[in-house]
């Protein structure tokens, strides 16, 4: 290859360099979205824990009371298929609410501090390099997925060291080495660009879905109320309290009428 070759790249080489440039931009866009999605999840989870503790807990208690009531009512009318069905539905709901409460409590609460800039930067770097959509085949893809999952966990728990070690592990692996030959590189680049575009679409949909979620809307309302000096969560809890008392009284009456302790 002489100097003129370098100065006059073939159309394939030109196309490859254009694609690689586009790919770099797309990689950046994906990493940016991964970061936003993660951030949104962390924020929502912090809110979720708070919400479940103040309001969700009361819903779960209420659902259990209502299920017990439905149970006793069904017991009083053993022939009523409708009452039995209602009791079963009530129990299913009570179980779901209890599960939601458990799930919220068992998931580790991420640190309340916002992620540091260095953590964000590191995560973006990892996401750009090892994103599964950059894989050549299914085997390579699986390997990248495992690493990406670990990177996600490390980011969410704010573990910078772990992220750095994932990055090191990747850089030392053969996966990091890119094959040669303009034709194969071109093919790879075309496939990667397509995958990255798909990925951006998926991430955008996920972010939009999360932003449109009930929990996100609830959080937005609670925060807006807070700026006008209202504690909406406390107001909600106060609203549920009389319902709890009423259900509890109703259950007492039924238990007494039932004659069993």
């Amino acid at each position: 290859m002489d100097a003129s070759d370098l100065l006059n790249p073939t159309p394939e080489e030109r196309e490859l360099s254009r694609l690689l440039g586009e790919l770099a931009g797309l990689e950046e866009a994906v990493a940016e979205r991964e970061l936003r999605l993660n951030q949104l999840e962390v924020e929502l989870h912090v809110f979720e824990v708070q919400y479940l503790e103040v309001v969700g807990k009361r819903y779960a208690e209420l659902d259990t009371l209502l299920a017990q009531i439905a149970d006793l009512e069904a017991g009083q009318h053993p022939d009523s298929a409708e009452l039995l069905e209602r009791a079963e539905e009530a129990w299913a709901r009570a179980q779901e609410s209890a599960d939601a409460l458990d799930a919220g409590r068992t998931h580790p609460v991420p640190g309340h501090r916002p992620p540091s800039d260095s953590l964000k930067k590191l995560f973006r770097q990892v996401a750009r390099l090892i994103h599964p959509d950059l894989a050549e085949d299914e085997i390579a893809r699986e390997k990248r997925e495992v690493l990406m999952g670990a990177a996600n966990r490390a980011y969410k728990s704010g573990d910078e060291e772990q992220l750095a070690s994932i990055l090191r592990e990747w850089e030392e692996s053969p996966e990091a080495v890119v094959g040669h030959g303009t034709a194969s590189e071109l093919l790879r680049a075309i496939r990667q660009v397509a995958r990255m575009r798909d990925r951006i679409g998926t991430l955008d949909r996920e972010i939009a879905a999360l932003k449109e979620s009930h929990l996100a809307h609830l959080r937005a309302r609670v925060e807006a109320a807070e700026t006008s000096g209202r504690d909406l969560l406390a107001e909600m809890a106060a609203e549920l309290e009389p319902q709890l008392l009423e259900a509890s009284a109703r259950l007492d009456t039924l238990v007494k009428a039932d004659g069993s302790p």
Partner: protein, 360 residues
């Protein structure tokens, strides 16, 4: 394999739909519905009216005060005790039983932790109610009853007056006498510092059984620093029972009358700067014993023998609202700094907390 990536999302969120988007059991959806419902309701406005009826005193409650932060109330009674109440819950927090005769007047310190009390036993005492300890005692041995006490807004000066035709300004901490301010006629019925602590209003007067038309009530404005009288009116035919400043310090209120008879009962609003009478109202059929300006307003809260707490517009001579509940004459009224609550003391031996209408 779809583009959803199981391993990638499994750290926090199960595959597919995010766990956070809609909590199981509809917990997020139900919460959102409830929150929207709460937000769509008009902002909770509590109805004006009686909040608490505080019982415990064994005789007439003739003086009440609210701490500057609005958390505590103090009441002085003919049962010789002073009590401090937690206003939000209505609990009696402390009781001072040191006076040997009827308590006539109470005033909170700036930090709300001390109460200055004046009694017919001839003493004014500063009482730390949290420690239930008497801190200082004034007027001891000078004879005569103490009818009126006031603590300056900065808590440094105490004003005490009683049976004699003068009142005394003292250093609260040392008890040192700063000024003695003579009045044409005693006894001293009411003392109030201006919101900035620079001025003081005094009301005094004597009951004359016969010979109507004799001048026997005085209203004076004093400069605290110099002890100088800036202006005075000595033409009231009845004792001046109550004086007050508006929260901007520009207006003064006075009411004259006498508890036992329905004679000429006058409420007046004065311009502090000039001593000019701006509004005068003579039509209150029953004597008014105490009045306060609503903070940030030119309207008044008035109480008297008719057992009512009245919200009064002096410019229009119009009753805006009345609060009923007391079973006997109401002798004293205090208002919280934010104008949301009033405290009253009555001959029915109760202290009552009232929620006031807002924007009046």
């Amino acid at each position: 394999m779809s583009d959803a990536n199981p391993e990638e999302t499994s750290s926090l969120v199960p595959a597919g739909e995010s766990r956070l988007s809609n909590l199981p059991g509809g917990l997020a959806a139900r919460g959102l519905a409830l929150a929207s419902d709460l937000l769509s309701r008009p902002i909770p406005m509590l109805e004006p009216g009686e909040v608490h009826c505080l019982r415990g005193h064994g005789d007439c409650v003739v003086s009440v005060a609210i701490s500057p932060d609005g958390r505590y109330g103090a009441s002085g009674s003919w049962d010789r005790t002073v009590r401090v109440w937690e206003l939000a819950g209505g609990a009696e927090l402390a009781r001072f039983e040191g006076h040997a005769d009827r308590v006539a007047s109470v005033s909170f310190s700036a930090d709300g932790r001390r109460v200055l009390t004046g009694s017919w036993d001839g003493t004014a005492r500063l009482w730390d109610w949290e420690k239930n300890a008497e801190v200082t005692r004034f007027f001891e041995g000078e004879g005569g009853m103490v009818h009126a006490v006031a603590l300056s807004p900065d808590g440094r000066v105490a004003a005490c007056g009683g049976g004699k035709p003068y009142f005394v300004l003292r250093n609260v901490l040392t008890g040192e006498e700063l000024r003695t301010c003579p009045l044409p006629i005693g006894p001293v019925r009411s003392l109030r510092f201006s919101p900035d602590g620079k001025y003081l209003l005094s009301g005094s007067g004597q009951v004359v059984v016969s010979g109507a038309g004799r001048d026997n009530g005085t209203l004076c404005l004093w400069e605290v620093e110099s002890g100088q009288r800036l202006w005075g009116r000595a033409d009231a035919t009845e004792p001046v029972l109550s004086v007050a400043f508006s929260s901007d310090g520009e207006l003064a209120f006075s009411s004259t009358g006498w508890p036992s008879r329905s004679r000429l009962n006058v409420t007046s609003v004065w311009e502090v700067g000039t001593g000019t009478e701006l509004h005068r109202h003579e039509a209150h059929r029953q004597p008014l014993f105490s009045g306060r300006f609503l903070p940030g307003s030119r309207n008044l809260l008035l109480v008297g023998r008719d057992r009512l707490l009245r919200l009064w517009d002096p410019a229009e001579a119009r009753e805006i609202r009345r609060f009923e509940g007391h079973q006997d004459a109401v002798y004293s009224v205090a208002v919280s700094y934010d104008g949301r609550y009033a405290l009253t003391g009555s001959g029915d031996r109760t202290v009552r907390l009232w929620r006031l209408p807002q924007n009046s």
